[in-house]
């Protein structure tokens, strides 16, 4: 499969990450409209240029079905393509390639990909107890008949932290473990956040000692190796080459993509330490006709430090089993030899629900369009972006290249 390179990210908008308690509450539809207008303004396109929509279905506040139609009506759009993506933290990457495919196939010319992630005003039947109940088991399904409800919850297997911790523990047993290298991932990303005024942890330096002294949540993961959930939301506009030529900024052309998943719980993975990003990234690089060494930057989904480590290995940047040594030997900051998560990553930028992964997509576009300010890379033409959902369950890769 080959892409013609006929689709590019041409506009983006993203709410500054904020604490849930102090962030404005907006209906998700209103966030969609607001983010869409901002992304459109960033692109310099008109509302009636948009004829495609990719949106989240799960966790959409105002409805759980018919979300695209409701959004089209609310926004006032005529759509030739509408899609809902349900891939957790992989959703952002997945949205972008679906939009690109629709454009390459000639279905439409400009697709809005949008993920509202601020809280909405509570309805008459909703209260904080309802929220707490909804959050009680993290991403686990509690529905009768769901195997998770039966075989996981009674033992305390729930949420994300312990799943990622068990992956890290398995990795440690197979390949060895260097807590300092893991801390360095968080520290290098924090260096990047210090050059990003929008980041949640802007102005707050971090040392490896602080990471290792932070509270152990589930061995071997410390709290500073885990993302902080924040309120936010993001949108990008993917447009055809013809429209991209009219856009205000240099577009980020979708040159390759890949996606892979086969389980929800890593317990049932063939090999817990060989993650789905392996086949996804291999496909993306093959499609783009590029190698990992060809990229100028990597924006790697980082819900946990271990996610980054395994992605570096399985996507082909570091040799398998040697990721920790590799991390020690490379400078992952925007000044370094392997610029990674140059916005701070979600670990230092903040994770706005499933829009968290959009921060990585948007940072790739920001760098390619030369608007990253202090942290702008000198040369940035080709960027690898990854997305990860669930517990390393569903992963996707994008190769973006400057137009």
């Amino acid at each position: 499969m080959a892409l013609k390179g006929n689709a590019a990210i041409v506009g983006a908008a993203q709410y500054r990450p904020e604490k849930y308690q102090t962030a404005p509450r907006m209906f998700h539809l209103e966030q969609v409209a607001d983010l869409a207008s901002r992304a459109l303004a960033d692109a310099g396109l008109k509302a009636d240029d948009i004829d495609g929509l990719v949106i989240n279905g799960p966790q959409f506040h105002e409805a759980s079905v018919f979300v695209p139609a409701m959004a089209a009506e609310y926004l006032g759009l005529n759509l030739n393509f509408a899609e809902v993506v349900d891939l957790g933290g992989c959703t952002s990457v997945a949205m972008v390639w679906r939009a690109a495919m629709a454009i390459e196939m000639g279905l439409c010319q400009a697709v809005l990909c949008v993920l509202p992630a601020r809280m909405a005003p509570l309805g008459p039947d909703e209260d904080p107890a309802w929220m707490a109940r909804a959050m009680r088991y993290g991403g686990h399904s509690t529905a009768f008949g769901a195997p998770e409800a039966e075989f996981d919850l009674p033992y305390g297997h729930m949420g994300q932290n312990t799943g990622y911790a068990m992956i890290a523990q398995r990795y440690a047993a197979q390949y060895g473990y260097d807590p300092l290298a893991m801390a360095k991932i968080a520290v290098d990303q924090r260096s990047n956040a210090l050059a990003n005024p929008d980041a949640m942890f802007f102005g707050k330096p971090l040392s490896a000692e602080e990471v290792l002294a932070s509270k152990m949540v589930a061995d071997p993961l410390h709290v500073l190796e885990i993302v902080m959930p924040v309120a936010g939301g993001a949108a990008v506009i993917v447009a055809s080459r013809k429209l991209a030529a009219k856009a205000r900024h240099r577009g980020a052309v979708i040159k390759g993509f890949g996606e892979h998943l086969s389980f929800k719980s890593p317990t049932y993975a063939a090999d817990m330490t060989r993650t789905p990003i392996g086949p996804a990234a291999a496909r993306a690089f093959a499609m783009a006709g590029l190698k990992p060494a060809d990229v100028d930057a990597a924006q790697i989904y980082d819900c946990y430090t271990i996610t980054v480590l395994l992605t570096l290995e399985d996507a082909g940047f570091a040799p398998k089993g040697e990721g920790m040594r590799w991390v020690r030997e490379h400078d992952l900051t925007w000044r370094g030899d392997f610029p990674m998560n140059t916005h701070g990553g979600q670990l230092s930028f903040g994770q706005a629900g499933s829009a968290g992964g959009m921060s990585q997509v948007i940072e790739a576009f920001t760098q390619i369009s030369g608007r990253a300010g202090e942290r702008q890379l000198k040369a940035c033409d080709t960027v690898f972006v990854s997305g990860t959902g669930g517990v390393m369950s569903e992963q996707g890769a994008l190769i973006l290249q400057g137009a």
Partner: protein
């Protein structure tokens, strides 16, 4: 054990597995067409999609694929098992199972170690969970049925330093940034909560209706009244290490601060610790502020914070 812990709800598909556990037997389905073992149970083979499956009893022996120790409970209800050794066990048949390890010290746990099953009866109706322990371990898992009335452990013995209330320097020296050791433990079960509801008149369903609380409440079941946990302080013997003497009258003057930061689920064990926050000389006597924190055993966040003011006259 907290009674709000999630429990399996067997389906037609999974019932043979859970029934097997209640008989002390581990049974899993196997594909008659391709020989593939299947876990968790389903009606087709996830390898060849045949529907020709049969249940087989297996030894349950296997090895530890991976694990983690939870330093923060994944649900407040698991605070009494902290740290939990959440584990993935690979049976010799090749299937993997999510479970917990029991009867093993933290430093005995190794990825790859040999394990055998422990049939842990957690419900009076026979409901049994499948846990694992070291292959050479003989000890049964230590999960006793909650003793309703009896403290789960005796109050630690301490030598009391007698402090005369008139000795201002000695009184001031009691003020401390650090807390005492933990008190004995007390089980807060549904019967106790119901009794308090009757006495106080606060019979709100979140405390008294386990079924409704499980379905509609935010905590997966009933929780104790904050006020109940507060007064249970009297049953918690905190090893303060001192005894104030030489006064004619001692008055519980109330509380400067009373907070209920986290719930106590029905069935949970609680314990307390304290520190002397302040000692002040007043016209009416000497006022000592004791900051008491009551926690669910193993929980980091207190359930009750009470700055108790005691006046010695």
């Amino acid at each position: 054990m907290s009674t709000n812990k999630p429990m399996p709800a067997p389906t037609d598909i999974s019932a043979p597995f859970w029934d097997g556990l209640t008989r002390g037997s581990l049974t899993i389905p196997r594909c008659n067409s391709c020989g593939h073992w299947i876990f968790y149970p389903r009606r087709h083979c996830d390898k060849c999609w045949s529907h020709d499956l049969a249940w087989h009893e297996v030894s349950g022996e296997g090895s530890l694929y991976t694990y983690t120790l939870t330093r923060i409970p994944t649900l407040p209800d698991f605070a009494d098992e902290m740290p939990q050794a959440l584990a993935v066990v690979e049976l010799d048949e090749g299937v993997r199972i999510n479970t917990t390890l029991v009867g093993l010290a933290e430093d005995e746990i190794r990825v790859g170690m040999r394990l055998k099953p422990v049939f842990d009866r957690v419900r009076e109706d026979g409901g049994t969970l499948l846990r694992f322990t070291g292959i050479d371990k003989t000890i049964a898992p230590k999960r006793q049925a909650p003793a309703a009335e009896q403290p789960a452990s005796a109050a630690p013995a301490v030598t009391l330093v007698k402090v005369p209330v008139s000795d201002e320097a000695a009184m001031q020296a009691l003020v401390s940034e650090s807390f005492t050791a933990w008190s004995n433990e007390v089980v807060v079960d549904q019967a106790l909560i119901d009794e308090f509801a009757r006495l106080s008149g606060d019979d709100y369903w979140i405390h008294t209706d386990p079924d409704k609380a499980r379905k509609q409440g935010p905590f997966g079941g009933t929780i104790a009244h904050g006020a109940l946990v507060q007064v249970l302080q009297s049953r918690l013997k905190i090893p303060l290490g001192f005894e104030v003497i030489g006064f004619t009258n001692m008055v519980n003057y109330g509380s400067d601060r009373l907070r209920f930061p986290s719930p106590v689920p029905a069935g949970a064990r609680i314990q307390a610790r304290a520190r002397v926050k302040r000692v002040e000389r007043l016209k009416s006597g000497t006022q000592l502020t004791l900051e008491v924190h009551t926690h669910v055993v193993g929980a980091e966040r207190p359930s009750v914070i009470n700055d108790l003011v005691i006046l010695y006259m």
